[in-house]
Each structure stands twice: as structure tokens, then as C-alpha cells.
């Protein structure tokens, strides 16, 4: 029996890319939420958390409306890239991004806020710009918690099913990620494939949790 490992590789690639993007997006939002006072701050916080509580299919539906071929964003993307976004592996990245970022924003905000304010004050007092304060003081001091959050975001991105199937679909060899492939294998009575993929994903998840916990603990000890 031969198992098609493509879904696993695709998932790792999609999750890796989504984690990198969600780090950028999540850190920017976490910074705003942790440091700035502005109108609509609580609204931004709520919007950033929404994907955590919405059913993934609902989130997927919204995304489909927003980036579908008939939508404004969908048309702009198609005009710029030359191909539609929906039902491609890039759409799977977007799905994983929306699935993973809320968690990252939450933990990154907590991590940034847990850095002793006096270090940031000291840096400002010494004339460092806000940019320098963030990159050279706050972020290095919070880096372990943030790495732990990124690891968890990666795990979440790896496991997304609902959003992915709504906007990237289930095209074997192109957009079929591991979570979707498992569903597909069970549906078509392919128990051996399902079992193999489930075991690999489970092992990955355990490894990731272990790593995240270790990162967190060392931060606390440092």
C-alpha cells in the first residue's frame, strides 16, 4: 500500500508560511493593543478574537464572500496575479492565517505587556525611539513567550479544516491539506491512509506542544 504524503508536505508548507505571516500581522496588532490608546481599540481586539469563537465554516464563508472571484478583493488579486485566489494553495495559507492569528495576537499581547515597563521607560529615557525600544528591548525580552505563541500558531495552522475546505477546497495534489486528506480518506473508506496521517499529525502536535512548553518555561526561568 502506498500512501500519498503530498497533503502532509503541503500542510507543513502552508502552516509555515501562515505562521510567518501571522507573526508579522499578529505582532503589529499586539503592539498596537499593548501600547497605544486609540478609538476603536476594543473593537480591534474583538475583531482579532472573533475567528477564535466563530465556527470555521462561518469564517470560511465570510472569506469566500470577501475574496471570491466576483468580489472586489478577488478581482484585484486576479488582475495583479493573473489567476483567481480561491481554491489554490495560497487560499489555504490565507485560511490557516485567519485560523492562527487570533491566538497569536492574544498571547503576543500578553507577552509584550508582561515585559517590565521600567525597561521600556529606561530605553526611552536614554533617547531610544519607539521603534528601537520595541525591537531591541521589548521584543528580545518577550521573545520566548512569543516563540512559544508562534509554535502554537503553527500547530493551529497545521490543523485547520473548516476554513481551508471552504476557500481552498479539496483538490488532491493541489489544495488537499493533511486535515482535509484525513477527512477524505475516512469518507472513502481508506482506513490505513487515515490512520497513518492521524498518527503523524498527532506526533507532530505532541512535539510542538512540548517545544512550546519548554520555550515558555525557560522564559520564566531567565
Amino acid at each position: 500500500m502506498s500512501i500519498d504524503w503530498f497533503p502532509l508536505w503541503l500542510s507543513l508548507r502552508v502552516a509555515g508560511l501562515a505562521t510567518a505571516l501571522s507573526l508579522l500581522l499578529g505582532l503589529a496588532m499586539a503592539y498596537l493593543l499593548a501600547n497605544r490608546e486609540f478609538r476603536g481599540k476594543e473593537l480591534l481586539d474583538a475583531a482579532a478574537t472573533l475567528p477564535l469563537v466563530l465556527p470555521p465554516t462561518v469564517l470560511g464563508y465570510y472569506l469566500l464572500v470577501v475574496i471570491g472571484r466576483e468580489s472586489v478583493l478577488g478581482r484585484i488579486y486576479e488582475w495583479a496575479v493573473g489567476a483567481p485566489l480561491v481554491f489554490t494553495w495560497q487560499a489555504a495559507v490565507l485560511a490557516a492565517l485567519f485560523h492562527a492569528t487570533p491566538l497569536l495576537v492574544k498571547s503576543a499581547r500578553a507577552a509584550l505587556e508582561s515585559v517590565d515597563r521600567s525597561y521600556e521607560r529606561a530605553a526611552r529615557n536614554l533617547g531610544a525611539s519607539e521603534w528601537t525600544v520595541f525591537w531591541r528591548v521589548t521584543l528580545p525580552l518577550a521573545r520566548r513567550s512569543i516563540s512559544a505563541a508562534a509554535v502554537l500558531a503553527f500547530a493551529r495552522a497545521l490543523g485547520d479544516f473548516g476554513v481551508t475546505i471552504m476557500i481552498a477546497g479539496n483538490i488532491p495534489g493541489r489544495t488537499q491539506t493533511v486535515a482535509v486528506a484525513i477527512f477524505d480518506a475516512v469518507e472513502s473508506g481508506n482506513g490505513a491512509v487515515a490512520r497513518a496521517l492521524v498518527l503523524v499529525v498527532s506526533a507532530t502536535a505532541v512535539a510542538v506542544l512540548y517545544l512550546a512548553n519548554r520555550l515558555e518555561r525557560r522564559q520564566a526561568g531567565a
Binding site: Y119, R121, A123, N125, L126, S129, R136
Partner: protein, 357 residues
Amino acid sequence: MIQVRVARRFPAGPESAGFALEVEFQAAEGVTVLFGASGAGKTLILDSIAGFVRPDSGRILLDDEILFDAAARVNLPPQRRHCGYVFQNYALFPHMTLRKNLQFAAERSPRLERHRRVNEMIEKFRLGGVAGRRPHEVSGGEKQRCSIARALIGSPKLLLLDEPARGLDAPLRTELYAVLRQVRSEFRVPALLVTHDLDECFEMADTMLVLDQGRIVQTGTPAAVLARPAGVDVARLLGAANLFSAEIAGLDPGRNTSRLKLEQFELHGTYLPGKLLGDRVWLCVPADALRVLGGNGGRIASNQVPAQLVRVSERPQAVRLEFSGGITAELPRAEYAKQKDNKEWLVEFPPEAIRVL
């Protein structure tokens, strides 16, 4: 020269009483100590000057630069205030070596000078052996010197020190004072030092500002403030002994005397210009100005009060005797040794030692 006039109100919350800071002062050369109990608003003043806290109103002027002016809507960011700040916990960046900490602070200096300045500070503050280590790997004294060096490296126009001696043991304190004296003589930068420790105040202050509940209640040299507290609150803050409420029962300018009626006894003091018969006043008598005698067979002279000895405690320089009625006297050791077997005690209040607040 720093000129400060600020007000900041914190409304009462469900878990905190309200607080209002309203102060006006200026400080030039030397060390000015902000003295007061915890919660008097000392650190809030430093934070307002450094730009970490925005006052509701007022104006802060450093040399000829306006740091903050509520009316003119000027509020410089902390980065542009040129104040060196020594934090209570030093706030040395834990992920950088001591040298990197200094380099971080020197980055705003001209490029060619940075290296020289960092080395100069390392040498001046005796950090040569540990410059390559991180804060958690060096001693408390080294951390302390590094944080002062870091605050000074950008040539600030004012040095702000937030309880730098808090939590230090005696030898480290002594070392800190030595370093601060070195700073005073070598850098000639005016400094504002926050403390609630009277010894530290005497050790360091050229001038002291006494803060109580958000207001400055007295200003002067520590010796002058201690000699003449402006009111009973200041006297209490300074830990003064023998505070008594009294009524003026007699005044005689001709013989330069006054008669003061306390709760349990009467005393004769010097004449009190500006006071009227029947005025209620607070008296303060320094513990070491009281004279203590053994019982004299029931004969009691003027200004002598019989008292029960309640407690004897040893102090570094003297022996402290606490009597009934809230009277506290301090005797030199030798004097106490002569008297310690007294069966009865008389306390004598020398008229010239009785101060009216």
C-alpha cells in the same frame, strides 16, 4: 536648573482613595531630596519630569527648555527631555551585558565619541572587570554603579534618582553614597533624589523638600528642617519625639517667658512672639534635649515632671528611654550608666529646648 509646577489628580476608585499632587519648586546645583512617606507623590514628580506621566496642568522648565506646558500644549516625549533616570530596580537591560547597556545609552552621542565615552564610564565607575557580564551575573554594587553610569553617559542636564538605596544593606548604602558624592563633584549635574529615609536625606541632601499627601510642606537644608519642622505633620514625618498639644496659659514678654498648659502638666518656655493667650499650639522637644534625673525625695523644681519609665532601648549612639505620657529622652551611654538604678524618675524640659511648631 529645573523649575516644576505641576498638578495631577487621580479620582477615588472602588479600591483606592483619590490622590492629588500639586507641587511647585525649583532646584539648581547639588542634590535636592524629595522626602516623604510612601504614597506622598515623590516618584510621581520624577515621572512627570521624565515624561512618563502627563500632569493635568502646570509647567516644567529645565534650564531654558520647556519640557511640559499644559497651557501651551507642549509635552516633550521622554526621549527629548535630557534627564538621566536611575530606576529603583536599576532597570538594566537583562539581555545585554553591562557594556552593551552603556553602548545602548551612548548611541545618541556623536558617533566618534561613543566608544570613548563608554570606556570612560567603565573606568570611572570601576566596571572594567565585569563589563562583559550581564546584570544578573554581577553584584548589587556593580549594578548600581552601572545604572548611574548609564544615566550619565548622555550628559543629562538633570539626574533623577528613585530611591536608589531601597533594599540595600548598610555596606552597599555607604558605597552608593560615596558614588553619588563622586557624581556630585565630577559631573556637576543637579540631581533630584527621592527617599523616605531620613539618614539618606542627611547624607546626601543640599536641600530637602518635604512632601506630604501630594504637597510640599517644607523646604530647607535637612538640618534646618529638622531643627524647625513647619508643623506637627512634618515633625511626625521626621520621626520627631515628644510632640505635645498645649494651650498658652501665660505670656510675659518682659521676662521672656511663657506658661504652657499640657494635658497633664505645665511647662515654662521662652516668650512666643505672635501668639496669643489661649492659643492651642504643638510643642516639640528633641529627645536628646531632655534632662533626666532620679527622684529627689518628692521635691519637684520648675519644668520637672515625674514619669514612669516604660521602656529602654539601645540605639547606635545613645540609650533611648520611653516614659509614660509619651515622653521620650535620649541619653549618652555614660550618663545612662550613672542613672540606670534610679527608683523614681524626673524629666526636665529646659525652657530653651521647647519649640512651638
